[in-house]
């Protein structure tokens, strides 16, 4: 039985690690806001270890509706995320060294798991920020919640919000698609040649 990886799968490991490493250099996710008073737009960029952009402006505006202010230090994710992705990259090198299909499958699964957990966590934060409002807030609209969209467009009072992957997110998506594709490819190759 040949449990070794094909050459193309090995290349995909290197490419995927490269894509994930890009997350240290470009933001992962972005939320863009627009309102009549903000024709130039406001945007928030989420990195694996930080939140940047017009955070202070957003915090200033959100106090009207009683939304909690956003602070980098409130997010343990900014510590865990680089560690998780760092470990993922390290494991990738081990997969390359041990050169086993099974390890490759598990490694791909790990990336998809990180993606799923991250998106769930992101949604949970958005829900929390959008729903847990200060009861003494100056502006209270009955039944109104301010949860930004997980992905896509939403209109909230005078603001329009657009949530989507930033450059880093797209690198992540490329890595995930590549590894999933290669898993399918390897699986088929193994079945076909009964390896």
């Amino acid at each position: 039985m040949n449990r070794k990886l094909s050459a193309i799968a090995k290349v995909s490991i290197v490419v995927a690690i490269g894509c994930i490493l890009m997350l240290w250099f470009v933001p992962m996710w972005r939320i863009d806001l627009a309102a009549p008073q903000y024709p130039e737009g406001i945007s928030m960029n989420i990195w694996i270890n930080d939140v940047k952009g017009d955070v202070e402006i957003i915090n200033g505006l959100n106090h009207y509706i009683g939304m909690k202010t956003i602070h980098k230090n409130d997010f343990k994710e900014f510590v865990y995320m680089p560690i998780a992705l760092g470990i993922f990259c390290g494991l990738g090198i081990l997969v390359l060294i041990f050169n086993r299909r099974s390890l490759f499958y598990m490694w791909t699964g790990l990336l998809l798991l990180i993606a799923a957990v991250s998106m769930y966590d992101f949604w949970k934060w958005e829900y929390d920020y959008g729903h847990n409002l200060d009861p003494t807030a100056p502006i209270k609209v009955p039944g109104m919640a301010y949860q930004p969209p997980l992905i896509g467009y939403k209109k909230m009072l005078n603001f329009e919000a657009l949530s989507q992957p930033d450059f880093g997110g797209w690198f992540f998506i490329v890595a995930a698609l590549l590894l999933t594709g290669m898993t399918v490819y390897e699986w088929r190759r193994a079945s076909k040649y009964k390896l």
């Binding site: 130039e40 202070e56 402006i57 200033g60 009207y64 100056p138 502006i139």
Partner: protein, 659 residues
């Protein structure tokens, strides 16, 4: 019979109609509206900085729309934003004779590098209490004002050399140097009165101004001036009147001579004399005010001496060129080769050639001396005369295509003529009595051309009447074609004298949106609500207050007593574009504040009676702006109410003993 009667009546009526005087309504071209229309949300092509005349300020208009974009406070207090009222800005209007709240602003100069606008600074003159201001074009703020010693009426100012080495200040009134008392008669004038041409050096990096040296000239009136450029770089030319040296009824007495002078100063040579230690130190006293970006505050300093150069002792750096009939404008063309003198009362415009002027000096083609200064023969320096151009020539600008545009006050028109053959090419009426005119970049080595703007002295019927006191007016003309074409009238503030215009893209993108609160080094800044406090130092109380949408912190203050001087130091905590906050407290005679994001500004208030004094934000900052308010409690002197302050719940209350 009846029909012929009718015809006769009609003919007579028509004849009477055609006998009417020519109307001042000009034919405005059919596409004028489209050419000046700047659609909502779109930007103008040029920033037009226009002197505010007797308002003391500078106005900024968009060209070609003529829309007023901003009034820049420079030499007068400005109730709109607290300039000259706030504790931080009061010092900007200090002079050797105390605080001067209102001056007369005439001319402007945009800083240049290699003879072209560089978009860094705008210089402005104060005509009455002689001063020069430097305005920063990133924040659109007056950053420095320097006073001039030995000057009376700083009219021929603030003209610049081609690399902004110097800004010039020539005195309009001759006065006794040292400003000592002197009898007022012609004999005393001739003996004691002098004119000065001050060269204010400008630091290349910071823009800081210093009076480098003053040239003491015979008593006469220096009117306007221009630096040479290109080949004539190193020279400065001043027009003069009253070379008759009269102290009274100048209307008659200063109009007697057939020719006055253009004073040509070789400032490079003057620099050499200064470097060689040949300038004389003179004790005097003048003030320089500087606005510090980091502390958002101005300080004043007194300077006690000035270097002077006497051209009757140090030879060969000042010459006089005769120029007909009390010249006003003295303008140098983009090539630096031609100097246009505009005799206000002359029926021609003399144009001097720099090369011929230099040769005349070499050949010693002098017709004599005037108070010890050599006078060059008129013909030796003359390039030629523009014949019958109009009445009352004042100023000339250039389009960079070999054409000159001269304003005529008396005949109320702009005349376009050719520098090469001095032939008149076109003329258009102005409404009415034009003073200065301006072609964008028309005083630089590379004019942008496209438009000429007339700044008029009389408005009369051009706009809806508003009583005896009318707005002033400007007129925009296209100079793209062979014929000048009137496009637009627009009202202006104060009285517009000279102006400057610069393509929007040279300034637009550097414009500051707000001040970084982390760089705010104001001694009384509260860089966050946690830093707010109220401190008592004897009868001085300092309130470190913050403003952010939509509350002031603290908004309840107690323990103030009659006899206290309360300083409200307001820090605007916002870090976003266009979120200013204001501050006003009832009965404060020091007016109000307008505080930009990241800035700290101070209002001083000495309450006279016990009671409750409401205060609030004066700038509609947010949906809850109307809630942005608070109270100060003032108790009788010696009261035992402790000093305390808070915003919101009692838990944030801080109390300290009153003493």
């Amino acid at each position: 019979m009846k029909i012929s009667h009718l015809l006769l009546t009609a003919t007579v009526a028509l004849a009477v109609q055609s006998c009417k005087m020519k109307s001042t309504e000009s034919a405005v071209g059919g596409d004028a509206a489209a050419r000046t229309y700047v659609a909502p949300g779109k930007y103008d092509e040029f920033y037009n900085f226009v002197s505010g005349g007797f308002s003391g300020q500078v106005a900024v208009y968009g060209i070609p729309s003529g829309r007023l974009l901003k009034v820049l406070p420079v030499f007068s207090v400005n109730p709109e934003n607290g300039y000259g009222y706030s504790e931080e800005t009061k010092a900007m209007l200090n002079t050797s004779h105390g605080f001067v709240p209102w001056d007369d602003q005439h001319h402007l100069a945009l800083s240049q590098t290699n003879g072209e606008h560089d978009g860094r600074w705008l210089f402005a003159n104060a005509n009455n209490s002689p001063r020069v201001a430097r305005i920063d074009l990133k924040a659109f703020k007056t950053m420095e004002i320097i006073e001039l010693p030995n000057s009376g009426g700083n009219h021929s100012s603030p003209f610049l050399t081609e690399n902004t080495e110097y800004v010039i200040a020539g005195t309009r009134f001759a006065i006794p140097v040292g400003n000592q008392e002197s009898p007022l008669d012609n004999e005393s004038f001739k003996k004691n009165f002098k004119s000065t041409a001050s060269f204010i050096g400008i630091d290349k990096n910071t823009g800081k101004m210093d009076v480098s040296f003053q040239i003491i000239l015979p008593g006469m009136d220096l009117d306007l001036s221009r630096a040479g450029k290109g080949p004539s770089h190193g020279w400065f030319f001043f027009s003069t009147y009253n070379t008759e040296q009269a102290s009274t009824l100048l209307e008659v007495n200063a109009s007697q001579k057939d020719k006055d002078f253009i004073v040509a100063v070789n400032w490079k040579k003057a620099e050499e004399y200064v470097k060689a230690g040949k300038a004389k130190k003179m004790a005097t006293e003048y003030v320089r005010n500087t606005f510090h970006e980091e502390t958002h505050s101005a300080t004043s300093e007194i300077i006690k001496e000035v270097l002077t150069l006497d051209p009757t002792e140090l030879k060969d750096f000042v010459y006089l060129i005769p120029c007909p009939k009390s010249p006003h404008g003295c303008d140098v063309d983009p090539s630096g080769e031609y100097i246009v003198g505009s005799g206000k009362l002359a029926a021609l415009i003399p144009v001097f050639a720099y090369q011929k002027f230099v040769k005349a000096i070499e050949d010693k083609a002098f017709e004599g001396e005037y108070n010890g200064i050599p006078v060059i023969k008129y013909e030796a320096a003359l390039h030629g005369e523009v014949q019958k151009p109009g009445l009352g020539p004042l100023h000339t600008e250039f389009d960079g295509k070999g054409n000159a545009y001269t304003s005529f006050f008396v005949s109320s028109e702009i005349v376009k003529w050719s520098l090469k053959d001095l032939k008149v090419l076109d003329r258009v009426p102005t409404y009415y009595s034009i003073g200065h005119l301006m072609v964008p970049g028309g005083d630089t080595k590379k004019p942008y051309g496209k438009y000429v703007v007339a700044y008029n002295k009389i408005t009369k019927d051009r706009f809806l009447p508003t009583g005896p006191e009318l707005a002033q007016s400007a007129q925009l003309y296209s100079i793209d074609g062979d014929k000048m074409q009137l496009l637009l009238d627009f009202p202006t503030i104060g009285e517009p004298h000279y102006a400057q215009a610069i393509p929007a893209e040279k300034i637009r993108d550097q414009s500051v949106k707000f001040f970084d609160i982390n760089k705010n080094k104001h001694p009384y800044v509260a860089a966050g609500e946690k830093a707010t406090k109220v401190e008592r130092k004897g009868n001085e109380v300092h309130v470190y207050m913050t403003a952010i949408r939509s509350h002031l912190t603290p908004d309840n203050i107690e323990g103030i007593q009659v006899g206290d001087d309360v300083y409200f130091h307001i820090t605007n905590l916002e870090q976003d574009w266009d979120i200013p906050h204001g501050f006003a407290i009832k009965h404060a005679p020091t007016a109000e504040l307008l505080v930009m994001p990241g800035e700290t500004s101070t209002l001083k208030f000495s309450p006279k009676t016990p009671g409750i004094y409401p205060f609030y934000c004066t700038d509609f900052c947010s949906a809850l702006h109307q809630e942005m308010q608070g109270y100060m409690r003032v108790s009788p002197k010696g009261s035992n109410v402790p000093l305390k302050w808070h915003t919101g719940g009692e838990d944030t209350t801080k109390a300290v003993a009153a003493k």
